[in-house]
């Protein structure tokens, strides 16, 4: 084989993968447009166009599109992206296919934090009138959820730093922390009043439909720059794949990268979970899907996971919103239903690396 032919093969291969990435992006844009058009309330196309082009500035259609559909679509896009890329980073810094916000106990810790705020800090009960569940101070609930996720991350990292815990130990610890917090939620629920229990359960359903524009802005302002940091480090993550020793011999400060990667990916996922609730499996499954389709090169894996996460969550949410119309299903329920079988399928089909 000549000099050019290996290089040609390589470039053709990269080219093919880039086409895949661009297709995902195009598909995402198409789906976003489609998601604006459909919903439990039927709005005729001309009306939608007139709202989007700014000709209609009030009325029901305006309200539904700008205050319900758009925020929901954008939340799905940014939350899916953030969860997927943090899952990919966790898998890579822990060198383990089981890394994800879910398996590391971050989601459960957030749910516990929310339950804690709702019941102990009383953010959820005061205003419930009749059967309307109301979380009356969403920010305290969110902050509490975020704090507890960071506590769980902190425990895992402290183990890694002071006890030289291996990545496997870190994952096992995450699983254990997750079940401690699940037990904690049960305990809180046992002692809570009915309305508070309803608020807790309501919070736990991952739902991209409860975020405001400000919140979307905040999530985006965190997720996008931190994702760029991930992408910037993709060669470090690549080196880590060959093992700690090899990565060190290639100039990577392994301990620092592992801690930083964990802190940042946990922050991203904790923030998302705190605002939208538990959305299982996106962070775990998306990196595996992408890896199956385009291979393990982090330079492509990270950005493609980002967009595939958006796409997957948006598809799920669009389906969830319309499947039992006029009822709207929280997307977290659907991702868990779809994610678990998908994960099992990948485990069975993707034998080559675990």
């Amino acid at each position: 084989m000549g000099q050019s032919s290996i290089l040609d093969l390589y470039k053709k291969d990269i080219g093919k993968k880039l086409v895949f990435g661009v297709s995902i992006l195009i598909f995402l844009i198409i789906l976003m447009s489609f998601a604006v058009l459909v919903g439990p309330v039927n709005i005729p196309l001309p009306e939608i166009l007139s709202v989007l082009t700014g000709q209609t500035k009030s009325g029901m259609a305006y309200h539904i599109i700008w205050n319900i559909r758009m925020p929901q679509i954008l939340t799905a896009v940014i939350a899916g992206a953030g969860l997927a890329i943090s899952g990919a980073v966790m898998q890579s810094v822990l060198r383990n296919p089981l890394g994800s916000p879910f398996t590391l106990g971050i989601s459960h810790a957030a749910a516990f934090g929310a339950a804690f705020a709702i019941v102990i800090l009383g953010t959820g009960t005061t205003h419930s009138s009749g059967d309307v569940v109301n979380i009356n101070n969403p920010y305290i609930t969110t902050i509490s959820a975020f704090m507890f996720s960071m506590i769980s991350t902190g425990v895992i990292l402290a183990l890694a730093k002071y006890k030289q815990a291996s990545p496997e130990t870190m994952i096992l610890t995450g699983v254990a922390i997750g079940s401690v917090f699940t037990a904690g939620i049960s305990a809180i629920q046992y002692f809570a009043e009915d309305t508070a229990i309803a608020a807790i359960i309501f919070w736990q359903f991952g739902d991209v439909g409860k975020t405001s524009w400000t919140e979307i802005g905040l999530i985006t302002a965190v997720v996008v720059p931190l994702s760029l940091w991930f992408a910037y480090n993709s060669w470090n993550f690549n080196a880590l794949n060959s093992g700690d020793d090899t990565a060190k011999s290639l100039g990577v400060d392994v301990d620092k990268l592992r801690i930083k990667g964990m802190v940042i990916s946990s922050t991203v996922s904790a923030l998302i979970v705190s605002f939208v609730g538990i959305i299982g499996f996106v962070g775990l499954v998306v990196p595996h899907i992408v890896r199956k389709l385009i291979g393990g090169n982090e330079m492509l894996l990270l950005p493609f996971s980002f967009f595939t996460g958006s796409l997957l969550l948006l598809i799920s949410d669009t389906v969830a919103r319309n499947i039992i119309s006029p009822e709207v299903l929280p997307v977290g329920i659907l991702t868990s239903f779809l994610g678990a079988p998908l994960f099992i399928y990948l485990v069975i089909k993707g034998r080559e690396y675990w």
Binding site: L7, N241, K248, V252, G296
Partner: protein
Amino acid sequence: MKIDVEGLEFSYNGVPTLKNMNLNVNKGEFLSIIGPNGSGKTTFLKCINRILNPEKGSIMINEFDLDKLHRNDIAKQVGYIPQAERGAFPTTVFDTVLMGRKPHINWVPTSRDLDIVVEVMEMLDLSHISMKNINELSGGQRQKVIIGRALAQQPEILLLDEPTSSLDLKHQLEVLDITRDQADNDVTVIMSVHDLNLAARYSDKIIMMKDGEIFHAGGPEILTPENIEPVYDVSVDVHRTGEQIWILPKKLNKATELKADNNGYRNNRLRAQRVPGTC
């Protein structure tokens, strides 16, 4: 590049593993480390690369203290081929060799990086498997890919930890010829190896380690029965044909043989089968 090791000591969790090692290797020299399993060869190589941080002593590379260099700057100068390696997720042969350019890559690999990778893959005859997943290669192929990665680093010091352990006869010679070539082009080579004949054939210098200490150091001429027997507990014949030294193992020496006898009938049988006619 010149390497000077002085008073090097290292412990794993308080267990002394390297004890007062002193060593000088000159630019372009080929040094082989030999010694029994667990004698500290791998540990020593990892210290030279600062994968491990020795608690005592100094390692100077061209008069620069290794301790004061940034990890990435070490990686630009020192290539390392580990004894064993397992990737967490599948990658292609091309991407693995390209990984050797990591210390030089900022954001995306340049066309020069790619050219170096292609060159290395042709030299090692890896072209036909360039897009294969490395988890689907044979042990020997994988070892060559990892050697390729270290060569792609274009290091001035090459550390090899038993690079020939899973290679067949032809590929052993091929890989060591390439390594020798590197040394002849002024790359300093330190290699740990179990095959004494290969060590004798390719090295300028040899050190014999046992229990974390250097027992003997010098040219291939230190491979004498008197030196080898106490280190390995094996009695050997050493023949010379012209330049080349040949080491032939004869049998386990007395102390070990007694221990083996105590282990009973099975061990005796095994030993008898392995070296027929020498008992």
